[in-house]
Symmetry: C2
């Protein structure tokens, strides 16, 4: 049984494709994915950073037992439970690159666990900043669906684990910014046309004014990489879950319509330039022998825009999105089964991308 | 008969490949081609720039008649004779791009003619700076062969036309720098490795000190384009033909050995970088939708180096060299049958190169 689970996790770590980036769902030409995350803590138990190793292990055991009781039926799919200290650093970092755990959770430490639905749509970090971080990821603009899924799992867990909750202020969390609903909702959007038209900062400044936060694809400090941005709610107190989700959905739809407006203009007025850019990206990705992750994500952005315009025969959105994970430093190293020097990584990355694109049906 | 000749010239103008760049011959991995040019003038006839239209036409008629008498046997192949005023400006400029006539000869003016052997190895400009400029072009380092060919044709012409010759100073020419042997010999070399190693200027400065001139692929002002350089003798007086040819051959061989030394080092120590560069060039040339002639020749240089290292299956040196002509502004416009705006040219150029590379056998 344990062997099977290890194998199941291995297949997730090996696969550069996650269902949340298969290009399906609402407005998927601009919205890559939607995520809902709930911060929850066990009643009468100190927050994780205050726990001794033994106590942290007890929390992990309690959560794992509850998950077993809930079972695949409650989760809507097969579940994998892992203690992160059983995984190599490389494996943990690949989970970060697949957006299944946070960078903090990948750091070494005791009592850390991960519960993962086989299709990667549900993941629960145990003993990250809070005892539980229940996360649901969907492809496209599907915040409602992600929220319904997360909320259902939250209810099942609450019955068995009894979460810390205050009638007046809501769920108690380790960091005050999460107090209240404990909800963070986010959408990952791809804005290549706004970027080409130098309109990204204007649009994102407006988003900020609406009380939402904008981060890069891999969190702060990665702004603009691949023209991918994550938009999320800043506060979880003083608004109902429904309001948070609705507000973010609305803003996301506005951003989508801005991006689409500019895309249409580009397609109409700058088609030759656009095609040139898309096919150069394809040419370089299909032929280069060395490539940094920065260049890969830059070219990926051009390629994805081309796929959205149906310029490239035989290349699906799913295949295209896979390049995102395929080109991440830790994923690249994991395929080699060892850590690599930057130059070796660049060579291997180029090879992985090249082979991946050579497989497309033309 | 006239129809046939027009057709023969048309096939030369349509074909981006010239035998002189088929990648054959001595040291052809570095030396693209060897050229020998003889400046000759008719005795007791003013130089071309002093001729009235009628007189220039008489010179042209005399030369054309002599050529007819010499016939295909004397020239070693079928001969095409054309009056340049019968050609469009675009056609004349394509002849320049194929190195068959000089830029000056393509300019409008009266009495200008061209005699061309069907395989493009022999061309005679009539009424350029001198009455005759007999040029022989060979692939590779084949100065002796080109000289023997040029000299044979010179002798046959001299018998019929009687060239202006002074026992003391030699052949009389319009410009004093050509007086004496009237010989200009040149080699076109491709030095991508020396360029990558930043050693081109050192090597070419040494060449200059030996009394030779270095120009770019399309003459002065194109230095460095595609890492192609033309090395030629500066003076034609005071040395015998044999000395001029031998001297240039010797210098060319030294340049070749410098280039090859650096290439070997690159292949040994920087192979990954080299391969990356070569395949990126291939990827961009095979996929771009718009390309300037400057970018095309830059990428061509990388591609050619890759072909020399046998990195690219199915791509011959001949196919590669064709890109040189294929990407020239006038050739590009001629394929469209009309002059084009720069942007239209860039689009058409990219398409021509793309189709050309798609035809290679992989």
């Amino acid at each position: 049984m344990k062997q099977d689970r290890a194998f199941a996790l291995d297949s997730i770590l090996n696969n550069p494709s996650s269902p949340w980036m298969d290009g399906s769902g609402n407005l998927a030409d601009v919205v890559i994915s939607s995520r809902v995350r709930l911060a929850r803590n066990l009643k009468d138990t100190p927050f994780p950073h205050l726990l001794e190793e033994k106590e942290a292990d007890q929390v992990l055991d309690r959560v794992f037992s509850a998950v077993d009781l809930i079972g695949p039926r409650g989760f809507g799919g097969e579940i994998i439970k892992v203690r992160l200290d059983n995984l190599s650093l490389l494996d943990r970092q690949v989970l970060v690159e697949k957006h299944l755990i946070s960078p903090q959770h990948a750091e070494s430490g005791f009592g850390k666990g991960l519960i993962l639905r086989q299709d990667e749509a549900v993941s629960i970090m145990v003993n990250e900043e809070d005892h539980l971080r229940i996360q649901c990821l969907h492809s496209g603009l599907e915040l409602d669906e992600a929220w319904i899924l997360a909320s259902g799992i939250d209810d099942l867990c609450d019955e068995l684990l009894d979460f810390a909750y205050d009638e007046r202020i809501g769920y108690l969390t380790s960091c005050p910014t999460n107090v209240g609903t404990g909800l963070r909702a986010s959408v990952m959007v791809h804005l290549p046309a706004l970027a080409m038209a130098n309109e990204v900062s204007r649009v994102l400044a407006a988003v900020n004014k609406l009380g939402l936060v904008v981060r890069g694809i891999y969190g702060e400090g990665t702004e603009g990489q691949g023209n991918v941005f994550q938009i999320s709610n800043q506060i979880s107190l003083g608004q109902t879950e429904k309001e948070i989700i609705e507000n973010l959905s609305l803003v996301a739809k506005q951003v989508v319509s801005e991006e689409k407006r500019v895309r249409e203009g580009l397609f109409k007025n700058r088609r030759a330039e656009l095609e040139d850019r898309v096919f150069r990206a394809l040419g370089i990705l299909s032929n280069a022998r060395r490539m940094t992750s920065n260049e890969a994500i830059r070219l990926w952005s051009d390629l994805r825009l081309g796929v959205e315009f149906e310029m490239i025969p035989g290349l699906t959105m799913k295949d295209t999105n896979q390049i995102l994970v395929l080109s991440r430093p830790n994923y690249v190293q994991r395929t080699a089964g060892k850590s690599l020097q930057p130059e070796e990584r660049d060579t291997r990355r180029a090879e992985l991308i090249r082979r991946h694109l050579a497989n497309r049906k033309v």
